[in-house]
């Protein structure tokens, strides 16, 4: 038996992870390629997470629910109905009767148990490939209190997802977004944050709604968020520290700064600045350590919505220099500007994929907004979803999914116009609304925690 000891200490959380066993057997991963169409979800059975006490049982129920929901929501799995299970034992220390699971067509089987002692929850899980008749993952993890149970559930979900699909997981992540309420001409907007699944227990407001706030984005190091805020009617880019709750203005510009995003190393912010003398909007880069500012574009057109490539070498952006808004790529120093969008329509919101090979964007054409993806060359443009109003595509950290917001049509009597956040596989399947307490817009995904 191969033993691993893995310890992850985060400043904010101390989640201790013991991986006690990894199978060394060769195992055929579920083939998941993005070019293919709809993937048939793989059936997985998840037994009860057995508990040694009331507290442990309750923790186990919560974990099972989180894991089951996460895997189903990915569109790559579905949980076989518990009523069909023939074997009802704890299968962490016991080899399953694989025949009993084959007969109900469970391709994979996850079992777990929970112990609670000395204020610590210890969870063990074991994952089996039913048809191969073998264990493929066994892990033991502890958390010091129940507040971390959701993160633990997300971590286990990531382990199962990664083991079976061979892709990086994305469950132990958060979404920052703009919570909206009130009449459409006087919307109150607040920064808000939640787990990737939108669970109400994870939801938190970060600002009080006094100032208009827009377009939050995570730093790749997960410590801060950059966003835009109107303070005394002056719209500027800010940084919000997630640990301290302190916000800080970015740069001393004499006019509006907006459309901020971090560089991949979290040390720089690329954003637009609109010169109050000329109203010309150009893209600037600010080094957060040295506070130096570099101007990257120089054109009478509007240059905005910059987004770095994951290697930090290039920037994709939106410009109307050719007469109407299109997508362009330039080197990170502003050189070698090339137009990449070719189709008819008004392009916007380009976002570079974490895998580096694609750009997500919005396009207005034939009176509808489309969210699409294209290769970084501009070739292979595909529509992921279209509707009356769609905006703010953001990639999952593993590059397989997008979140975005949708706005309904509004009527002149003031009704309608609701905004909501949605999740979709980039193949265009498995669209799902992420529940938020109020309306939601401008979602952005954190990196994997």
């Amino acid at each position: 038996m191969l033993c691993y000891f893995l310890q992850i200490m985060k400043k904010q959380f101390s989640l201790i992870l013991f991986a006690i066993f990894f199978s060394s057997n060769v195992f055929a991963a579920l083939e998941v390629t993005i070019s293919q169409g709809k993937v048939e979800p793989t059936p997985i059975a998840i037994t009860d997470f057995f508990g040694s006490s009331d507290k442990a049982i309750k923790g186990g129920e919560t974990l099972r629910e989180i894991i089951s929901n996460n895997l189903s929501n990915s569109g790559l799995f579905y949980t076989v109905d518990e009523d069909l299970y023939i074997q009802s034992d704890n299968l962490v220390d016991k080899i399953p009767r694989f025949e009993d699971w084959k007969i109900i067509k469970a391709q994979f089987l996850l079992s777990g148990d929970v112990k609670y002692s000395n204020n610590t929850y210890t969870v063990r899980i074991r994952l089996y490939d039913v048809f191969a008749g073998q264990e493929i993952k066994a892990v033991k993890m502890s958390i010091p209190n129940l507040e971390l149970i959701r993160r633990l559930g997300h971590k286990i979900s990531d382990l199962v997802y990664e083991r079976i699909t061979g892709e990086r997981g994305y469950f132990d992540t958060r979404i920052v977004y703009i919570s909206e309420v009130g009449p459409l001409n006087q919307r109150v907007k607040r920064l808000a944050i939640m787990d990737q699944d939108g669970h109400p227990n994870s939801h938190q407001f970060l600002t009080n709604g006094k100032n208009l706030v827009l377009t939050p984005r995570f730093a790749p190091n997960n410590q801060t968020i950059t966003y835009m805020e109107y303070e005394n009617n002056i719209p500027r880019v800010y940084i919000y520290n997630l640990k301290t709750g302190v916000r800080e203005i970015v740069g001393d510009f004499p006019g509006m700064t907006f459309a901020p995003r971090f560089s991949p190393d979290s040390q720089k912010i690329v954003m637009s600045f609109s010169d109050p003398k000329t109203a010309n909007t150009e893209i600037y880069l600010m080094d957060l350590n040295t506070r130096t500012i570099e101007r990257l574009t120089n054109d009478p057109g509007i240059d905005t919505s910059p987004s770095f490539s994951p290697d930090g070498k290039k920037i994709v952006f939106n410009s109307d220099r050719a007469g109407y808004p299109q997508l362009y790529i330039m080197d990170a120093n502003g050189k070698n500007i090339k137009r990449i969008s070719r189709g008819k329509g008004v392009y916007g919101n380009p976002v570079w994929s974490p895998r580096g090979d694609q750009i997500a964007f919005t396009k207005l054409t034939q009176k509808l907004f489309h969210i699409g993806i294209m290769d970084i060359t501009g070739l292979n443009e595909r529509v992921v979803v279209k509707d009356f109003s769609l905006e703010s595509p953001a990639w999952s950290p593993n590059g397989r999914y997008l979140i975005y917001h949708r706005q309904n049509r509004s009527k002149e009597d003031g009704t309608g116009g609701q905004t909501s956040i949605h999740f979709i596989d980039i193949t265009g399947f498995n669209e799902r609304k992420i529940q938020t307490p109020r309306d939601g817009s401008d979602p952005a995904w954190s990196p994997l925690l």
Binding site: P183, L184, N185, Q186, R187, L212, L214, T215, N233, I234, P235, G255, M256, F258, A259, S272, S274, P276, T278, A279, T281, I302, T304, S305, N318, D320, Y324, P325, V346, G348, N349, T362, L364, F388, S389, E391, S392, Q407, R409, S410, K411, E412, D413, G414, G416, G417, D442
Partner: protein, 150 residues
């Protein structure tokens, strides 16, 4: 915020009740040199075509009237707000709103209004005047609004 809301409601009422009759004399209740005065007797806004920041012929006559009014009330300072309709991305519309506000700013400055009296702010598509996903609502939301700040 309340004051702003009042102005918006007030301007809404004026627009509704005055449709068809353009020349309205101030009346006793409107203070000279106030926002209400500007709205009722001059016009506080100009409209733009889709994805454009060029001032139209109608817009020019409104701005010419604003210039005369600003010359008359030389103690008044203004903020020029730039707005866009909902059919563009949030970020592009912030840039477009800034261009609209700036075009008006330059027009007033070229006519001799001191730049020390003027500010601009872009709200992009965040503050529509008219709610509704219709061509008519969008055409009224693609605007600059001159607001009295002092």
């Amino acid at each position: 915020m309340l004051k702003k809301l009042f102005i918006i409601i007030f301007s809404g009422l004026i627009l509704t009740s005055c449709a068809g009759q353009k020349n309205v004399t101030g009346g006793g209740s409107i203070a000279a040199g106030s926002q209400e005065d500007l709205i009722v007797n001059v016009g506080d806004r100009v409209f733009f075509e889709y994805d454009s920041f060029e001032i139209t012929v109608d817009g020019q006559s409104t701005l010419d009237a604003q210039i005369a009014w600003l010359n008359q009330y030389s103690e008044v300072d203004i903020t020029i707000e730039g707005h866009a309709d909902e059919r563009g991305t949030r970020e592009y519309n912030l840039a477009l709103g800034a261009k609209r506000a700036n075009t008006v700013y330059n027009y007033l400055m070229d006519a001799g209004i001191a730049n020390t009296r003027m500010n601009t702010v872009s709200f992009g598509k965040e503050r529509p005047e008219v709610v509704g996903s219709t061509d008519s609502a969008w055409s009224q939301n693609r605007r600059s609004v001159t607001t009295v700040t002092k």
